[in-house]
């Protein structure tokens, strides 16, 4: 259950960005979680919702985008998305493939309210 420390890292990063950028509010943080990252999206969601309470981010939603495994074949160079952890090139059948996506654990973006423009100040 290491998702708690991962959730804490996400929360800390967002708080830091919020302060550094002087953001009044952060409505959403989007995170990419790869199939090989060793992180369970449901657990991460649960942990994030538990630790955001009583912080400046208690209304901030965590959006998780899962990233499937993409392999690149060392024989035919085809790049393909594989399922069920089958590390085989679907094009030529070679088992000599490199994982080029699927290890991600990245914060991709924050969503913040648009700064309200004062109509008197065009």
């Amino acid at each position: 259950m290491h998702e708690l420390s991962i959730a804490q890292s996400i929360l800390d990063t967002v708080l830091k960005e919020k302060h550094e950028r002087g953001l009044p509010r952060v409505d959403q943080v989007a995170v990419q979680v790869g199939a090989l990252s060793g992180v369970l999206p449901d657990s991460l969601q649960f942990c994030f919702e538990a630790i955001r309470i009583d912080t400046e981010l208690q209304t901030c939603e965590l959006t998780i985008e899962t990233v499937p495994i993409t392999v690149e074949c060392r024989e035919c160079y085809a790049r393909t998305t594989v399922e069920d952890f089958l590390f085989v090139c679907p094009k030529c059948g070679s088992v000599h493939v490199d994982v080029v996506a699927g290890y991600e654990l990245d914060i991709s973006y924050l969503e913040v309210p648009d700064p309200v423009h004062d109509p008197a100040d065009p």
């Binding site: 259950m1 290491h2 420390s5 991962i6 890292s9 996400i10 990063t13 960005e17 950028r21 409505d27 959403q28 995170v31 090989l36 990252s37 060793g38 992180v39 952890f85 089958l86 590390f87 085989v88 088992v95 000599h96 994982v99 290890y103 654990l105 990245d106 914060i107 991709s108 973006y109 924050l110 969503e111 913040v112 309210p113 648009d114 700064p115």
Partner: protein
């Protein structure tokens, strides 16, 4: 209306930065580092005890023994002849991280150390994403576990370079099949180097020791062991 702010930051960027520093530091000292991972009870400590006893007169080894609670493993490694053993009790955390390693390294005598072994917490899930600055991960599996484990924990087996199958003296007492575990592991990671050993009888350990000897970096100042 909402505005998007692109960040593209790795969640574990701080861990990865520290791990890169550790890797650089150990490399500059000509130390090769192994991160041992497995389920609890597969035989990580037993393998290290055997390795210490067999090789301590020819290879300088330092060990970090990670455990959720107690320093029992570290005590065992000291009794096996380990002179540079550092216990690392996580107090509940299910994995080691680079910060923990960075904190204990300054307390260790790493002068002329050929091999640093980091014994991770027994867990096949949580440690997989945390780089500790090692050169490679060594994953253990024992014949008293399921031979489908590599399929159940693909991330860990994919990220490991070596698989040690332990407790081969108990083959035949369960449904575990060496052929099946090999096939399963290689389907996840065809580049795995595989050893079959028994830390109880010593069978197969010579191959492991020889492989380790070949990993020891050439020292410019090849000092005689004292």
């Amino acid at each position: 209306m909402a505005e998007k702010i692109d960040l593209r930051k790795k969640v574990l960027s701080e861990n990865d930065r520290l791990a890169a520093e550790i890797r650089q530091r150990l490399k500059s000292r000509d130390t090769v580092t192994f991160n041992l991972v497995s389920s609890p009870g597969s035989g990580k400590t037993s393998l290290l005890e055997r390795t210490l006893k067999a090789m301590k007169d020819e290879v300088r080894m330092a060990l970090i023994a990670g455990d959720v609670q107690t320093e029992n493993d570290a005590d065992r490694l000291v009794r096996a002849g380990g002179e540079r053993v550092k216990p690392l009790v996580t107090g509940g955390s299910c994995h080691l991280d680079a910060r923990m390693i960075a904190n204990v390294l300054p307390e260790m005598n790493l002068t002329n150390v050929d091999i640093l072994f980091i014994e991770n917490v027994g867990n096949l899930v949580c440690p997989s994403g945390f780089d500790l600055g090692e050169d490679m991960k060594v994953v253990l599996i024992s014949t008293t576990e399921g031979d489908d484990k590599p399929l159940k924990y693909p991330a860990m087996f994919r990220r490991s370079s070596v698989m040690v199958i332990n407790k081969i003296d108990l083959l035949g007492t369960s449904e575990f099949s060496i052929d099946t575990v090999r096939r399963n592991a290689l389907s996840i990671n065809p580049d795995l180097t595989i050893f079959e050993v028994s830390c109880r009888t010593g069978e197969g350990l010579d191959e492991w020791f020889n492989w380790l000897r070949q990993r020891v970096p050439e020292r410019a100042d090849a000092a005689v062991l004292t």
